[in-house]
């Protein structure tokens, strides 16, 4: 029986201008968002490939240099753009996608930890995910707010009930009609998008992406289903269509526009993050403090890079200095990231009353654009940076300056001789750049 009701409602809705205009607008926006996302991703991937190649080339062709100079030059690594970022860019546009693997310090240039809070609190970028999360519920409300109330107001509800149509069939029939409207609008676009995404992937990645798309479809289906039933319930219980519309629009504004913002602000108050200035100051202080302690413990020096430490030990000193900072970096970044994750967990609870908050996390997670995946990348990049630092330091230890402090006490007979001595010395320290370069590019 509910199929008969659904078919009638669908026929009514298709003859109603609301579905045509509102639905057409949503489909158009969806196509624009997909095209823009697709274009952005193609452009980004191309720029990244070019950037990575240039950077790698510059690394390979840096010529004869002191290993530490090479470490200071560093290299940029580019976070791989997940294919589903076209659908949901998540926090990507706010946290950046490039990490500079440089000497001594975890990169803060492209990844701004203290400012990430605003990135996590971001709301409202024209993406297909945003359209589904925010505009589709509005469309459901616009076409469904009077679904039940209008039957009552017109008197057709009495007619239906007098025929013995059970209320449950009416509800499910109307729900099926509303869901079909949404399905008719977004399913073809969604299906075409999924096929395009999957088709351009290497065969090995397809299963994973299809799996993610399936879960995304289920999650969004559940979310939109919630709005379908909420709309029908309010329409059935409200005194009039107008009251139903006001109530539903109020809920939509509160749940999709206000609640996410409020949740972000509230969780930021609950679990505050430092400003970038404070974060940098604390990190610098902790690294310096750890460095001082390490220099004192290993070399008996009062300060870092104390002249009392012979040049022959500077390879070891670099290693000690770097490793001393690892703890401070781990602690500071770890604390900051843990705070972000605590904020996100706390926001998850807001999802109980504002489902868009819960869906947003779910969607970003499956699209591979949420904070935890950014954290994984940053952690892996940092591990790689340390690996390279160790290679550099080990090389310096192995090829320590055999002249020791005498290096500064002996005057060269001429500039040309000194330069020749220097270049001979550095040639000994020449690193296998290609190996390190490859190691850099092995980042996950």
């Amino acid at each position: 029986m509910f199929a008969i009701i659904a078919a009638k409602d669908l026929r009514e809705l298709t003859r109603d201008g609301r579905l045509l205009w509102a639905g057409g607008l949503v489909v158009m926006l969806m196509l624009v968002a997909l095209a823009a996302g697709w274009n952005r991703q193609v452009q980004l991937n191309s720029e990244r490939s070019a950037g990575q190649a240039l950077d790698y080339n510059a690394w390979l062709h840096q010529g004869y240099r002191h290993p530490h100079d090479a470490a200071e030059q560093g290299m940029h690594v580019f976070k791989p753009e997940p294919s589903l970022a076209v659908f949901d860019p998540g926090i990507g546009p706010f946290v950046g996608s490039t990490v500079w693997l440089q000497a001594h310090r975890q990169s803060e240039v492209k990844f701004r930890p203290a400012q990430d809070a605003t990135g996590l609190q971001r709301f409202g970028e024209l993406s297909p995910a945003w359209l589904l999360q925010v505009l589709l519920p509005l469309l459901i409300i616009v076409i469904g707010f009077n679904s039940a109330s209008d039957e009552r107001e017109r008197g057709t509800l009495r007619q239906l009930l007098s025929l013995g149509a059970p209320a449950r069939s009416l509800l499910f029939g109307k729900a099926a009609a509303l869901a079909s409207c949404v399905g008719i609008l977004i399913a073809p676009v969604g299906l075409a998008f999924a096929v395009l995404i999957v088709a351009r992937l290497p065969a090995g990645e397809r299963v994973d992406v299809v799996y993610r798309i399936t879960w995304l479809a289920a999650g969004y289906g559940l979310y939109l289903g919630f709005f379908v039933f909420l709309t029908l319930a309010v329409s059935a219980l409200a005194r009039s269509s107008r009251a139903a519309l006001v109530l539903l629009l109020g809920f939509w504004v509160a749940a999709t526009l206000i609640a996410p913002r409020t949740a972000s602000e509230a969780t930021n108050l609950l679990y505050p993050t430092p400003s970038r200035l404070d974060f940098d100051a604390q990190l610098t202080h902790d690294i310096a403090d750890a460095g001082r302690k390490a220099w004192s413990a290993h070399f008996g020096a009062r300060t870092q890079w104390d002249p009392s430490v012979p040049l022959s030990k500077w390879g070891a000193a670099l290693k000690v200095d770097d490793e001393a900072g690892y703890g401070a970096l781990d602690e500071n970044f770890g604390r900051l990231w843990d705070t972000f994750e605590r904020q996100q967990r706390a926001q998850g609870w807001v999802g109980v009353v504002a489902p868009v908050v819960a869906l947003r996390g779910f969607s970003m997670g499956l699209a591979g654009t949420d904070f935890s995946q950014h954290r994984d990348f940053s952690t892996a990049a940092e591990a790689q940076r340390r690996k390279i630092q160790n290679i550099v330091s080990e090389d310096l230890i192995e090829h320590a300056d055999r002249l020791g402090n005498a290096h500064f006490t002996r005057l060269a007979p001429s500039c040309g001789q000194a330069c020749r001595n220097s270049s001979t010395n550095f040639r000994l320290c020449r690193l296998p750049w290609r190996i390190i370069g490859r190691a850099l590019c092995c980042l996950p």
Binding site: K8, D16, R154, G155, T156, R158, L161, G164
Partner: protein
């Protein structure tokens, strides 16, 4: 076929029906007369199970309306004062929808057209949107729905109110035809002429009570009018 047994319906302090008992036999047309607020529509709503009695019981074909709502609704068809249909759908589409709900199957277009024709709707109007229909045309679609359902009982709530005399007359003829086919009809009306002309029996209600019951053949138009006015003024 339609039985109300000592039915009382209370809305807060107001007693809308007060111990009403009536019985409509198969093939009878029972016309309920009464002023506004006399309880006629409340009684119809009770038979439809839109309301539940405070006390007493209602039966349709010996089935209890409250205990077996879906079964009793299968036996009856309801035509309100304003037959409410879906304006953006045609008369034919409305009939197709309501009849499929009522009988659980899709009738072919030809059968639907026959039903509309039997109800008096011109064939050329069948595919027009109901929004363009007059009240009389809507009533005819309502009758077509009842015909499609092949209902054993018809509940009508002031069905001729607002109809022009010709349309009202056509409607009365349809009721008589249905009654001759064995359909039981309970109709509320303000129209004494219609009641006398169409009804088998007439009941007069006042302030929730059934104050008079008579066979229409036993009274003339003038006597019925005098009796009605006497009850209304007392």
């Amino acid at each position: 076929m339609l039985d109300a047994i000592e039915v009382t319906k209370q809305f807060g302090a107001k007693r809308a029906l007060d111990n009403v008992s009536l019985s409509v036999l198969p093939g009878e047309i029972y016309c309920l007369l009464g002023a506004n607020g006399a309880g006629k529509t409340t009684l119809v709503n009770l038979f439809l199970n839109f309301l539940q009695p405070t006390s007493g019981s209602l039966q349709i074909g010996k089935l209890d309306v409250v205990r077996q709502p879906l079964e009793t609704k299968r036996l009856l068809a309801y035509i309100p004062e304003q037959v409410t249909l879906y304006g953006v759908l045609s008369g034919l589409e409305n009939l197709a929808f309501f009849s499929s709900l009522a009988i659980g199957e899709h009738l072919p277009r030809q059968r639907l057209l026959e039903l509309l024709e039997a109800a008096g709707l011109p064939r050329q109007a069948a595919d027009n949107r109901v929004a363009t229909y007059s009240k009389g045309m809507r009533q005819k679609v309502g009758i077509a729905i009842a015909l499609a359902k092949n209902a054993k009982a018809l509940l009508l709530d002031e069905p001729t109110s607002g109809l022009d005399p010709s349309a009202a007359n056509e409607f009365s003829e349809l009721l008589v035809k249905a009654s001759n086919d064995g359909v039981t009809v309970l109709t509320t009306t303000h129209d004494l002429f219609h009641a006398k002309q169409t009804g088998t029996r007439i009941g007069i209600m006042k302030q929730g009570r059934l104050v008079e019951e008579l066979r229409s053949e036993e009274v003339s138009h003038a006597d019925l009018e005098a009796l009605y006015l006497k009850h209304m003024r007392s």
